[in-house]
């Protein structure tokens, strides 16, 4: 399968990574991937936003924080080093006084606003970094996932160097790409969720303008159901992993709407993420579906290199660990 078709030449090389969750190291590696893998387009799938804020208390000329259960105290002059270390792991360090910490603890709304501010600020920095580091010939596409606040979309969309074709068709040359970060309802009630029926409708509406027979790529954050790209630990009603036979029980948690859309539209490639531990590539009909997985907490960038021919067919692919 997917042998290099005789006589076909590569017209486009895509590098796809996803679920970096605020990791500065992973984003820098993502930018470096363009050169290392000689990619024409680099695509960062959804869930770019980090998950946690580390409040760094300013007190008597010292900075105090708690990381991985350890109490840290460093001179204020070490702020850059501390912030850099925390940012590498995808944590947002925020300097504050004890009163501010108490206020955030008591007021979920204020905390939510702080998260949104930090995430948008980080995205602005990342877009600027992309403009600074990327070769002008390389296209950089960033699309959101269910864990990303909608506030970050305009930041990407407004940046001249980065594209954010969410819910749009995007011309990549030999293929057209359609992107959607919404996922079916999760137990965590995240920002971009809907029912399977609504998801199916959104995908169909997005693909409606696509001329019949035009080769396309579906960049859908959620993987297709029971495809091997969507295996995750089963959780009980309290969100605790279910242990069976001495091991966490693993079940498929993907989307039936996505699977059905792939089965009907048969895109050339399906690009997915969402389930970090389910790094895999599977064929559904003629479609190659890829979930490169995510290992952002280790500072490792997992990705996929995909070669597309002039006629829009998929020549070859490789899952990468960098």
């Amino acid at each position: 399968m997917l042998r290099k078709k005789a006589g076909k030449q590569r017209a486009l090389r895509i590098y796809f990574a996803t679920d970096v969750h605020g990791s500065e190291v992973c984003f820098r590696k993502f930018l470096a991937a363009a050169k290392v893998y000689e990619a024409d387009v680099i695509i960062l799938g959804g869930d770019f936003a980090g998950k946690a804020i580390v409040p760094v208390l300013t007190q008597d000329g010292m900075l105090r924080a708690q990381v991985r259960g350890d109490d840290i105290a460093v001179p204020e002059s070490d702020w850059d080093r501390l912030a850099g270390d925390l940012g590498k792991a995808g944590l947002y360090p925020v300097r504050m006084h004890a009163a501010e910490l108490d206020r955030l603890t008591a007021d979920p709304g204020a905390l939510d606003r702080l998260f949104r501010t930090e995430i948008s600020a980080q995205m602005q920095r990342w877009c600027d970094m992309a403009a600074e580091r990327l070769d002008p010939a390389v296209r950089c596409i960033i699309t959101p996932g269910n864990d990303d606040p909608v506030d970050a979309d305009p930041v990407i969309a407004a940046h001249p160097r980065v594209e954010c074709p969410e819910l749009e068709l995007c011309d990549l040359g030999p293929v057209t790409m359609a992107s959607l970060g919404v996922v079916p309802t999760t137990p965590w009630n995240t920002e971009r969720e809907c029912t399977e029926d609504e998801l199916a409708k959104q995908i169909d509406e997005m693909l409606d303008p696509l001329p019949s027979g035009m080769p396309c790529i579906l960049n859908l954050h959620c993987p297709p159901y029971a495809s091997g790209l969507d295996d995750a630990p089963e959780l009980d009603e309290t969100l605790k992993p279910v242990i069976r036979g001495g091991r966490p029980s693993i079940i498929p948690v993907g989307s039936t709407a996505v699977r059905e859309a792939i089965r009907r539209h048969q895109p050339v490639v399906g690009l997915h993420g969402h389930i970090h531990e389910s790094r895999a590539a599977q064929k559904i009909g003629r479609t190659l579906c890829v979930n490169p997985g995510s290992d952002y907490s280790s500072g490792v960038l997992r990705g996929a290199v995909i070669d597309i021919a002039r006629d829009g067919s998929c020549l070859d692919f490789l899952l990468t660990t960098g």
């Binding site: 590498k88 910490l101 009630n189 029980s249």
Partner: protein, 551 residues
């Protein structure tokens, strides 16, 4: 990232627990409630086949003169305790499932991890076949026990016709086929099957301890005489062993040489690191769970060995194990008690009710099926990883549309495993156990090396942000020392295996072939895959393992 709370409005954020923890966690997908010490301990203990200790006792008694198990059991526990600290740092660095393959990939290099991954896949396939072989070896004992429980001489006699090498090979194949058939069910059903098989073997072990404690040495000699229809069976076995040159007693050298077998005993006891990402305060929970598990196993195994020595006698166990190998005809004339069964066999003849007889008879085959079901899942996952790295065809990882099971991977493992079944049936039990010990020692070595180089290669993964330079150096030195100690202990285990010609050094073409296939498979498949892809002008494999510059 984990949280101890859940369910807040969409997009909202919250404090992870209290202000004193000083960490605010956003409500995002993947946040799960943490597993505590009891759950982690359960995972560790369920990963160990407790009844397999009798196989290892037998291998030690058979392959070394003057064998005793106290020192080997305790020394092996110490080796795993040291390794536990190394894995604690690895868990902190890579708090996700994956094991040594992932550690090598992340910490040493992706290429080393990939090659090791292939080797581990082949090793695990070999382990599947050796477990099937153990189950097959216990089939005669099982039939004899079931015959006794159901008063069926036909069943009991059937066992006597299934002791040849070729019969054992075919029985191993049947066990492999049973495991493959069960693994085609959904993951949930397979997990339930594993759970109940584990419960049954643990129950058998506990009942055996109770039975040994409740009977005296005189009860045992009397029961053996009745079972064997030989009034002096006990002494006759000792005398026959003596006249066949078996030397009795204990020796430190033998005890040291047996340590690798007992290292194998504890394999699985640290497996709670596989759920490291879901543990509450991972480092602490993992240490507690692993220490408790090792402690429980030490008490169980040292306890059962002490009971066996007191009720059966060391001299008799040494005589029985060695006579049945050195002169099976002489042994067979005295008793039909299966010597490989060890403690379970002693329990069987002491037992007077059919339920316990059935429990003892089926304990090992059921345990091996449980272990193999778990191993098959792991093996197919490692094959998946290789397929996604394009070292194997992608079709290997194809998921069945109907049963959502990896049918192709299962078929491949089954075919290779059956091949190993025939190979292992031609090698003696001691060599099989030794080879298996070697493989797990090599895997432990991979873990030790990963921990040793962790401070050099990926110190960013383990050091606490903002740590002072002196403290940071001390911390990294401690990590390297613990990793180094694990590496040395793994090397010691390998050295012991390699230098005892009576067990492992007595190379035969079968054992050499097995070793070459298992250890050489990784690099060989990598080279073939890379060459083939180059000829097809496909994407270069080395690209998949190229490290990206972070700046």
């Amino acid at each position: 990232m984990t949280s101890s709370e859940a369910s807040v409005p969409a997009g909202a954020a919250k404090a992870a627990s209290t202000a004193s923890t000083r960490l605010f966690v956003r409500q995002t997908s993947g946040l799960v409630r943490d597993l505590g010490i009891p759950a982690a301990t359960g995972i560790s203990l369920a990963s160990v086949a407790v009844v397999n200790t009798f196989i290892n006792f037998n291998a030690g008694l058979t392959d070394f003169t003057k064998s005793d198990m106290y020192l080997p059991l305790l020394a092996a526990a110490v080796i795993w305790l040291v390794a536990m600290f190394a894995y604690r740092y690895l868990l902190r660095a890579v708090p996700r499932a994956g094991g040594e393959y992932v550690y090598l990939s992340r910490i040493v290099s992706p290429a080393a991890g990939s090659v090791a991954g292939l080797g581990i896949a082949v090793v695990f396939t070999y382990v599947l076949s050796t477990n099937a072989h153990f189950a097959a070896q216990f089939t005669p004992f099982m039939l004899s026990g079931l015959g006794s429980a159901f008063h069926s001489t036909a069943l009991a006699n059937a066992g006597n016709h299934l002791t040849s090498n070729i019969a054992i090979a075919w029985l191993s194949v049947v066990v492999m086929l049973i495991v493959a058939a069960l693994s085609l069910f959904s993951v949930r059903i397979v997990a339930r099957i594993i759970f109940w098989l584990i419960v049954l073997q643990v129950l058998a072990f506990v009942v055996l301890i109770g039975m040994l404690a409740a009977n005296s040495h005189a009860d045992f000699t009397s029961a053996l005489a009745t079972y064997s229809n030989h009034p002096g069976a006990f002494q006759a076995i000792i005398n026959a062993a003596r006249s066949n040159g078996v030397v009795f007693g204990t020796s430190i050298a033998s005890a040291v040489a047996i340590i690798p077998f007992m290292v194998l005993n504890y394999n699985g006891v640290l497996y709670s690191y596989y759920v490291g990402g879901e543990l509450r305060r991972p480092g602490r929970t993992y240490l507690y769970a692993s220490t408790i598990s090792i402690g429980v196993l030490v008490v169980l195994w040292v306890g059962v060995w002490a009971l066996l020595r007191a009720r059966v006698g060391l001299q008799f166990m040494q005589a029985q194990a060695n006579l049945s190998v050195a002169n099976p005809t002489a042994y067979g004339k005295i008793t039909s008690l299966n010597s490989v069964a060890g403690g379970l066999g002693y329990g069987m003849i002491l037992s007077s009710d059919p339920i316990t007889k059935i429990l003892f008879a089926t304990a090992v085959p059921l345990a091996e099926i449980a272990v193999n079901l778990a191993f098959l899942t792991v093996t197919t996952r490692v094959l998946f990883a290789q397929a996604f790295d394009r070292l194997l065809p992608v079709g290997v990882a194809k998921i069945g549309d109907r049963n959502h099971a990896p049918n192709v991977a299962i078929a491949i493992v089954l075919v290779i495993g059956i091949g190993f079944c025939f190979l292992t049936s031609l090698v003696n039990l001691g060599s099989i156990v030794a080879l298996q010990s070697l493989f797990f020692a090599l895997i432990l070595l991979a873990g030790g090396i990963s921990a040793t180089v962790l401070p050099l290669r990926r110190s960013d993964l383990i050091q606490t942000p903002g740590m002072a330079e002196d403290a940071r150096r001390r911390w990294l030195r401690n990590v390297a020392l613990v990793g180094g100690a694990t590496t040395i202990l793994a090397l010691f285990t390998i050295y012991e295996l390699a230098t005892h010609s009576s067990v492992y050094g007595k190379f035969s073409w079968e054992s050499i072939l097995t070793l070459v296939i298992v250890l050489g498979a990784g690099p060989l498949i990598y080279l073939i895959a890379r060459t083939v892809r180059r000829q097809r002008n496909a994407l270069d494999l080395s690209m998949a393992m190229r490290e990206l510059p972070p700046e």
